[in-house]
């Protein structure tokens, strides 16, 4: 049974996920505002997979330099370079392709458009092959979709990406910026396409930041849909599945 699920390795999150984890092979959108800990959550998922569940993973960076990510994550005591050497973890940097472009439509760089999806999928396949990955993180998937100025095109591109991901049989976390914070927020089309959505929401109460972890959707699993408080501590993300969020 447990083999049908990929445990996040974050005790509180796994409890919310019915003491099981994320259904294996599913594409899960991790959406959160800036500083909400999306990357931390995703890296923790990969780190725990590699160290505790014998599931190698790949991290595909579309924005940040993987070296920066590794450095940032070392504060949680996760030695990612070592895992990389042991071939339990691979970092794929597709961010440099962006800089080759010169043409712009508004803020969106058009130069990557024609090869991005193919290039991305190729890179992912290679990465999966290299470490025999069972977990994949794309951070942030929004970067990929935003290059398509037309929304319909964007949705298609995203659907293609997700469809292709399914073939890998990996458990995939797609990191996305969350637009709108607090209780009201916009639903993003990625949410409809993904099989699961985990929100790392933040709200301001007076001048205090309140963090909420919420599994909004998780196809094929009974989950607790209520927002629960979470914290980013020196051990990574800690979710408190039995607590109510106070404002």
């Amino acid at each position: 049974m447990t083999d049908d699920y990929a445990r996040t390795g974050i005790a509180g999150a796994d409890k919310i996920l019915g003491e099981k984890g994320i259904p294996r092979g599913h594409n899960i959108l991790i959406a959160g505002g800036p500083g909400s800990g999306k990357t931390t959550f995703a890296i923790q998922f990969l780190y725990k997979g590699a160290t505790e569940y014998n599931e190698p993973g790949i991290y595909i960076s579309l924005d940040e330099d993987p070296a920066d990510v590794k450095r940032n994550m070392s504060k949680f005591g996760w030695d990612l370079s070592k895992l990389e050497q042991e071939k339990k973890l691979a970092f794929i940097n597709v961010s440099p392709v962006r800089v080759t472009s010169s043409e712009k439509a508004g803020l969106v760089q058009l130069g990557m458009k024609e090869f991005k999806l193919i290039k991305l999928l190729e890179a992912i396949r290679e990465g999966i092959e290299e470490v025999k990955a069972r977990r994949v993180v794309i951070d942030p998937v929004t970067f990929f979709t935003l290059q398509y100025p037309d929304e319909v095109e964007r949705i298609y591109a995203m659907r293609d990406l997700i469809a292709d991901f399914r073939k890998t049989e990996c458990t995939n976390l797609l990191i996305s910026e969350l637009r709108g914070t607090g209780l009201e927020r916009e639903h993003q089309f990625e949410e409809y396409l993904a099989q699961g959505v985990i929100l790392l929401r933040t709200a301001m109460r007076e001048d205090k930041l309140i963090r909420m972890f919420q599994v909004e959707k998780m196809r094929g699993l009974e989950v607790d849909n209520q927002p629960r408080p979470y914290n980013i501590t020196s051990n990574g993300i800690e979710v408190y599945p039995t607590l109510t969020v106070f404002k």
Binding site: R211, T244, V245
Partner: protein
């Protein structure tokens, strides 16, 4: 000391599986009350989670120990520091202290949950001092916090006590908080007394307890403690499950001195008491002896007196069941100040100095009771001294007989019968004259028709004449 309905000790016991809210205006003594509850818990080796929003953990520890840092090392005491971060000072206190932000209820609930996991056992005391600060930041959300978090902690098998100032927020919020709590104690200070109004309680009937203001000081005084004392007592409590000790505990229960001490603690204490039996007339200790035993009379009676070569013994006082003696030498470690003699077949419960001091440190109520009795004894001595200095033996005998009429007199045809038998030496002691003098005085009284005697029974014929003689204020001859 009289027990007024509930004792303070009973109120200080926060029942398990319940959330008690202590409310009152600032300065009513809520924190001191909370500290006492915490100390009681530590004494029982029961883990405490202390959420402090009003001062740093080290400040609380200082108040709890005052004399040193031993308390800070108590393993049972765990802090959530919701003060330092909020006011922007660095929390340097203890490495194991978990920090939270009192402006963010989530950080408090998360910190508490983490600490619970670390402690890993139920039956914890959660003390929240106080909800006022979070209320200032979060308003009515605090009521929700009580309902959804503190009540949940209580329901998991823990005791929760939370403090809240009255008058700092909307009254409907306070009412909401009171209705959420399983127990509500409203504290007030009024002139020389402190009022504990038990508005509701999961186990006790609503009641009101008044404590003289000294006891407010006393509660603070109780915050000096030595964990080794606590440990010893906790140990003795755990060990004490035997019948013999229980029986002594039963005797202790009836002693007013211990009315504020819980049955459990008494059975713990009873283990340290030794039963001592004395024959009628047997000397328990002599004036000048080096002694370190404190006695409580269980059955029989004891006479305290000071021997004097010239006029026979100077009688100090008679004590009966429930009375105690021997406390002076215990306190100042000097030789006995008086001789104690069993007046009957007497049994005392004797406690050694160190156990006595340890117990009194733990039970300030008892210390205050002892002080009250000591004060009464000093007053009695003063009035006896005054009587000896100011009045002739004749006047003193008249006063003594009048007193006896007042306490043991019953009206009969010929006058007033004193119902207790008194020997002449006993009467001599009470009047502080020699037996020779008393024999002469009684003869004079009899000849004047004031008194008649039949064996050891005295009949007062002319109380008005005694009254006149009693006020003769000439210096003694």
């Amino acid at each position: 000391m009289e027990k007024l309905g509930l004792s303070l000790a009973e109120i200080q016991e926060i029942p398990g599986d319940s959330l008690t809210l202590v409310i009152g205006p600032p300065g009513a003594g809520k924190s001191a009350f909370c500290h006492q509850v915490v100390l009681n818990s530590i004494a029982e080796n029961r883990p405490v989670i202390f959420i402090t929003t009003e001062q740093s953990p080290s400040g609380v520890v200082r108040l709890l120990t005052e004399k040193g840092v031993e308390g800070a090392k108590s393993e049972a005491l765990n802090f959530i520091d919701a003060f330092s971060q909020t006011v922007g000072i660095e929390a340097l206190d203890r490495p194991d202290t978990i920090c939270a932000d009192c402006a963010d209820l989530n950080s408090i609930s998360m910190a508490t949950t983490r600490l619970q996991e670390i402690i890993g056992q139920k039956g914890v005391l959660l003390a929240f001092d106080s909800l006022t600060s979070p209320y200032l930041f979060s308003g009515a959300e605090v009521a929700k916090f009580m309902r959804l978090f503190l009540s949940k902690i209580a329901a998991e098998g823990n005791s929760v006590v939370a403090l809240m100032d009255e008058g700092c927020g909307k009254s409907e919020d306070l009412v909401a908080m009171m209705s959420i709590a399983d127990g509500v104690i409203r504290m007030e200070t009024e002139e020389n007394r402190q009022l504990f109004n038990v508005v509701k309680h999961p186990k006790l009937r609503p009641t009101r307890v008044e404590v003289l203001i000294e006891s407010k000081v006393r509660i603070r005084a109780a915050t000096h403690f030595d964990p080794s004392v606590m440990k010893r007592f906790a140990k003795s409590m755990l060990e004490n499950r035997e019948g013999g000790a229980e029986a002594v505990g039963g005797s202790l229960r009836s002693i007013p001195l211990f009315s504020s001490v819980s049955v459990d603690e008494l059975s713990g204490l009873s283990r340290q008491f030794a039963r001592r039996r004395y024959r009628n007339g047997e000397i328990i200790f002599h004036k000048g002896d080096v002694g370190s035993t404190f006695h409580i009379i269980n059955t029989g009676g004891v006479k305290l007196s000071i021997p004097s070569d010239e006029e026979g013994d100077v009688f100090l006082t008679d004590l009966g069941p429930g009375d105690f003696f021997g406390e002076l030498a215990l306190l100042d470690e000097r030789p006995r100040s008086a001789t104690a003699t069993a007046k009957d077949s007497t049994e005392t419960l004797a406690l050694e100095r160190q156990d006595f001091l340890d117990f009194v440190k733990l039970h300030p109520d008892v210390a205050v009771s002892i002080l009250a009795v000591l004060s009464q004894r000093i007053r009695n001595l003063n009035s006896q001294l005054k009587s000896v200095v100011l009045f002739k033996p004749q006047a003193r005998l008249a006063q003594t007989l009048l007193k006896l009429v007042g306490t043991h007199g019953s009206e009969v045809q010929e006058g007033w019968q004193i119902s207790i038998p008194l020997t002449q030496p006993e009467l001599a002691e009470m009047v502080r004259v020699s037996t020779g003098t008393i024999r002469r005085l009684l003869r004079d009284f009899r000849e004047a028709g004031i008194v008649s005697m039949e064996g050891q029974r005295y009949l007062i014929h002319k109380p008005e004449e005694l009254r006149r003689m009693a006020t003769l204020g000439d210096s003694p001859d």
